[in-house]
Symmetry: C2
Subunit: 318 residues, 2 copies
């Protein structure tokens, strides 16, 4: 199976669904050790939450509420029971919202997204997300390293110094925003610097229209997009099939009527709600405020997980 990261990606949908919902009760028990979840999940029997219908009856946690909740009970609003110092790194993102990075391998769950974009162990990746204060840089750094790639922590800006690194290390690929990749390629063309080693890219953090993807392709860079957040890491990622974004393993994605916790009919546009199966830092029905829709059918790449259409706007702007 050299085209898939592991066997989880190609198991039958029913097998995946059974696995996720078998593990969910223990995650809910772990979550309830944190005071804010204990309050929100009061009266719920974790053992009974073993289906999408049962999950849909639990309250959603709106991401837009997190800044006030975090401020009232720093740092994590009472949603995390592990000691703050037991995490690996500690971040913030606009709001402010505060995010811990678990001290585990691949804490942002992205190695399989890096793989799906065509990277392989031993590849060198230039990572131009910022490593300071916010988790962006580390989401892609730790994902690439978990796959076995070497990372050049370029950060944003310093284009001159980035070219020095690109020409010396000759990275096979890039991670960062699509816009900064275009800036780098344009600067290379204009100043005669050599960025020709960069053959593929994993982009995020901004819109990536088909026209820009095609332009990249014409310039020799096969660029894949993904959808993630500073709270959750990688939620869904593009594959060689180029049909929507495949949902990540080990998380449960629901699409709900914006502002409610009620699932929409498959295919309808709604708000993305994510439940993670990480007992150290559980998220139970985090409503992101971002819109998407399920894409029917299975990806021709062989991955069997649910596909979403990509980012379709903000729920609070509809």
């Amino acid at each position: 199976m050299t085209n898939h990261y592991d066997a989880l990606e190609t198991r039958s949908p029913s097998e995946r669904e059974a696995d996720l919902f078998k593990r969910l009760p223990d995650v809910l028990r772990a979550a309830a050790k944190a005071p804010a979840y204990a309050e929100r999940l009061k009266g719920i029997d974790p053992a009974a939450i073993t289906s999408r219908a049962a999950l849909a009856a639990l309250p959603v946690l709106r991401k837009s509420e997190l800044p006030a909740l975090h401020k009232a009970a720093p740092p994590f609003g009472g949603f995390v029971s592990s000691p703050t110092g037991s995490f690996g790194r500690l971040f913030t993102s606009p709001g402010p919202i505060f995010e811990p990075e678990s001290a585990v391998d691949d804490p942002w769950r992205g190695a399989r997204a890096v793989f799906a974009a065509g990277f392989r162990p031993g590849d060198i990746i230039l990572n131009t997300f910022s490593y300071h204060l916010t988790p962006g840089g580390f989401i892609f750094d730790s994902s690439a390293r978990a796959l076995g790639c070497a990372v050049i922590p370029g950060g944003p800006g310093n284009t001159e110094q980035q070219f020095e690194l690109i020409e010396t290390y000759r990275p096979a690929g890039y991670s960062g925003t699509p816009d900064f990749l275009k800036i780098l390629l344009d600067a290379a063309d204009k100043t005669g610097r050599d960025a020709s080693s960069i053959k593929r890219a994993l982009v995020s953090g901004a819109a990536f229209p088909k026209s820009l993807q095609d332009e990249m392709k014409a310039r020799g860079v096969d660029a894949y997009q993904n959808f993630g957040t500073a709270d959750l890491g990688i939620i869904a990622y593009e594959t060689a099939a180029r049909e929507g974004l495949v949902v990540n393993e080990n998380i449960i994605v629901e699409i709900v009527k914006p502002g409610t916790g009620e699932p929409v009919t498959d295919g309808d546009v709604g708000e993305i709600v994510v439940t993670t199966l990480d007992p150290h830092h559980p998220w139970v029905r985090l409503a992101l405020g971002d819109l998407s829709a399920v894409l029917a059918g299975q990806s021709p790449c062989g991955r069997t997980n649910m596909r979403i259409k990509g980012w379709m706007g903000r729920a609070d702007q509809t």
Copy 2:
């Protein structure tokens, strides 16, 4: 031994010396797999290099030569035999010199320096070195994480956002330049922000005179300095004894007559030459161009390794 990182730090000097020079021949054999070392060590029998006198007969590699050597045979001048993509991260520093980070725990050998500065597992550290392009940020990040601390990757600048993180996560300590610590403390005083959780610091990258150390102490921050480079990581570090800097374990430090490979008499000022016992990225007699001197006797903190007086200037400026 709660005051020492491990038993290596308190073994007898003769035991340490025997251990280092027993391991050296294998390191030289590993080094010679890289073409530039093969050339430089031609005719040398690694099995015979088991004493300081024998080591002193090997050629020194001048750090000032590295930019030209790296440029002639990118990325590492032929001094590294492992594939570039097998490393964890890839950096540059002024010159330019190119530095790989080994994909191992504590690649910059700093966990014991963080421990010696009083940090313990579970402590939260605000790290204000830059994580982009150069290895400074990761030297302290990986050292603190290897000890089991949680790190806030603050980076330099963005003081306002740093205070938001300091007030929320209440870090026990700081790593960064002494100058930026002073900037943060001054700004806290001036604007009424709360940096009072910061009780200790590990500083590097700039002079740290006793007067500034005393000022920090008067403001509630117990600050320890260390000496390191982007090539080697942590070479020597201050301990609670406050007498010079104790040389790191698993490296061999020599003090030589500047511009030569010839050891000075103990106590005389000379150039620092370092040999690392890391077969993945060996350094054999790297002459740094920095001056120091051996401080006689043993540290009252119980660590038995050689002590140096700290940074005493540049060899090329004498």
